[in-house]
């Protein structure tokens, strides 16, 4: 009996000790400074979600050059690939375990959460102060999401525009105008895209227009469509639900009807991979062009215009330095090296950089041999200018799940769009109010 009690106490004491070790840190954001040379070179780790060996080899070669240049500072840099689907969850679990990486890729939707939490250090001063970094070359619109109180809490290394990929074989077979012609004639609207998609789907027996990765779960990908209506899920300050605004109701009604009345978009529970030839059109990031082969004729055009005109949308990813990491100053210095103009140009072949001087069709063309200069100019170079990102919020994870659950009733044929959207607002109001 006594022994049991003593053991219980020992366990409790051990637990407390573990907690004392893991629970630390503060929420005040801090700025990275000039790295002090450590007593011995330190290893750095960066978590990434790409498993592409060519990309990882490029990162490693840039990192190895940094190690060679700074042998007293860094012993090695490791790039740790985490699968995309579980990326943010795995990252926060590592943080919970007191095992933060030094640097990490961060998804745009979670940017405000990471930026505001104080988990990241302000890398602005280090980047700005690094010789030859050309900080002014960075596009303000690209940095906006990652800034707070004048500080920059991650570097947006990837700015990949959303575009419409078209299976021109299927469109032609249905006797429809090619989207490229519609673009040239200034008639490339969502209504036109819907009609082309519906006709192509009817002809081929396959699917029409697929918003890639939406799959009735990742609803934020629909923003590529509703941005054409000038709609947004919440107000800019993130405090008010705007799902019930007329623009959003119209946009969602359009999506609902295109799916259930016109047969232009696949319904829930239907899988259709454009790149396998299952659909006539898809909205996705330009970086997916590498998945195309010669199995069908294709084209890529800018996103269609909605009633409010055309809105460029990009998917962003940032690289942040964790305050919890052991050597944030060294990590920030490495970030400045990794993203300087010379390396940004090398990375540009996979990740359109936020640097104005590097956004030229010539430069990007070398890395995207599948795309013509005209396509690159229209979709990538012009597509990044004044682009908006997908919805983001400090409580994004909660909002993602709550809105996903709230929108489920919308995905049936007879759904009352306005009523469903009103319910969505009711369920997310408390979350928005807490932000």
């Amino acid at each position: 009996m006594h022994t049991t009690r003593r053991r219980g106490l020992a366990a409790a004491a051990a637990t407390t000790a573990v907690l004392a070790l893991t629970a630390c840190g503060s929420s005040d954001p801090e700025a990275a400074g000039e790295p002090e040379t450590p007593s011995e070179p330190v290893p750095l780790t960066m978590t990434v979600w790409t498993a592409d060996e060519v990309q990882l080899a490029l990162f490693q070669s840039i990192a190895d050059a940094y190690v060679a240049e700074n042998p007293d500072l860094v012993s090695e840099v490791t790039f740790e690939a985490i699968p995309f689907d579980d990326y943010t969850t795995s990252l926060t679990t590592r943080l919970a375990g007191g095992n933060a990486p030094d640097l990490a890729w961060i998804l745009e939707s979670y940017a405000p959460e990471f930026v505001q939490s104080g988990a990241l250090v302000d890398v602005g001063p280090v980047l700005e102060g690094t010789e030859g970094y050309a900080y002014d070359d960075l596009l303000d619109s690209s940095l906006a999401l990652w800034q707070q109180d004048g500080g920059l809490f991650a570097y947006p290394f990837s700015n990949s525009p959303f575009a419409m990929f078209v299976n021109t074989d299927q469109v032609e077979a249905a006797g429809q105008d090619s989207p490229a012609d519609l673009v040239a004639d200034g008639e490339w609207t969502y209504d036109a895209a819907r009609d082309v998609a519906a006709a192509a789907a009817e002809e081929s027996g396959k699917q029409g227009l697929v918003v890639r990765d939406f799959d009735y779960k990742v609803w934020e990908n629909l923003s590529t469509v509703w941005d054409g209506w000038g709609a947004a899920p919440w107000s800019e300050d993130g405090a008010t639900c705007t799902f019930t605004d007329p623009a959003m109701v119209d946009a969602m009604t359009w999506i609902h009807d295109a799916t259930f009345d016109d047969g232009a978009m696949p319904g829930p529970g239907t899988t259709a991979d454009f790149f396998a030839g299952d659909a006539a059109m898809t909205i996705t990031q330009i970086s997916r062009a590498s998945a195309l082969d010669d199995s069908f004729a294709w084209d890529v055009v800018p996103l269609p215009a909605g009633p409010q005109g055309r809105q460029n949308v990009i998917g962003q990813a940032g690289i942040g330095v964790f305050a919890q990491g052991e050597n944030p100053d060294v990590a920030a210095d490495f970030l400045a090296w990794f993203t300087n103009p010379e390396h940004a140009e090398q990375l540009a072949q996979y990740f359109p950089p936020p640097r104005e001087s590097l956004l030229t069709a010539d430069l990007l063309g070398a890395a995207n041999p599948l795309l013509s200069d005209e396509q690159l100019q229209a979709v990538v170079v012009d597509g990044i200018q004044d682009a908006v990102t997908k919805p983001a919020h400090p409580s994004f994870a909660k909002l993602q799940d709550t809105v996903r659950a709230g929108l489920d009733p919308l995905w049936t044929a007879g759904a009352d769009v306005e009523a469903v959207l009103a319910d969505v607002c009711t369920s997310i109001d408390p979350i928005l109010a807490g932000s």
Binding site: R7, G8, A11, A12, A14, T15, T16, V18, L19, T22, A23, C24, G25, S26, S27, T89, T92, T93, L95, A96, E113, F114, S117, G118, A119, Y216, K217, G267, P268, G269, T270, T271, A323, Q324, A397, K398, Q400, D401, R404, A405, G406, D408, P409, W411, T412
Partner: protein
Amino acid sequence: MTSGPVAVRPRVRSSRTRGSAAERDRLVGYAMVAPQVLGTIAFVVVPLVTVAWYSLHEWNVLAGTFTFSGTANYERMLADPGLRDALAASLWFSIGLVVLNVSLALLLAVLLDQRLPGTTTFRTFFFSPVVVSLVAWTIVWGFLLQDDGGINGFLAALGVDGPNWLRSGPTAMLAVIVVQVFKNVGLNMILFLAALQSVPEEVQEAARIDGAGAWRRFRSITLPLISPTVLLVSILTVVGSLEVFAQIDVLTGGGPGNSTTVLVYYLYQQAFRFNEFGYASAISVLLFVIVLALTLIQWRTRKRWVHDEV
């Protein structure tokens, strides 16, 4: 004169010997149980205490803050409609799973407890899903259950317009239950089979001579004699049903709406998606209490329905 000390010495020696032998026995005993005890402390007691401790804190993983909040997480549970929905979903899942799984396992066991050609093949057939990877099994079912998947294709061939299984609340829950039943029914079937084969033939024989029919023999002889196994299977199935996670994550992601967000999935969302580790710890304490209570209830009430305790 000398006999006294001589007489005493062996007594002392013998008592010492006994003492050191007992000491040795004790040490050997401790050494024997040490791995088990240490393992239990490290992997059961410490995590349990740790989770209970976490549940009294507000823990923001991103900011790295960990502050004592007393019973705030437990008070939040009382007012959380999401948790109530998750408990209701867990209840439906558990009822559906236990009823379907136990009755189907028993039925299969009775059918396969025959000396007929082919029974071994059928036993292997029904048991094989148990050894298949849970996630692989669920992913395959995910494809079958899609609107344009195999099951609706089969139904269409019969002229039936199948529902969109994973997209409406009741069918999604049913689908998750059935996928889980088929996955594990083989294990319960084997347990029942072993129990059925231990029912003495002569008792059945005597009942048969007394004119008892098949159903009467099953109800009055077989069932009471295998009741300890029924208890074991019920406990395992109930506990297992409360811990379901992978199937929900792969098949429905908790949807449509929140209809399949069971307690463990809700806990996972709170901890690993919303970074509310303190609140999630409080929910896991609740889950522990529920599982413990259900197991105790089943154990305590066993005397009323377990007739042949071994």
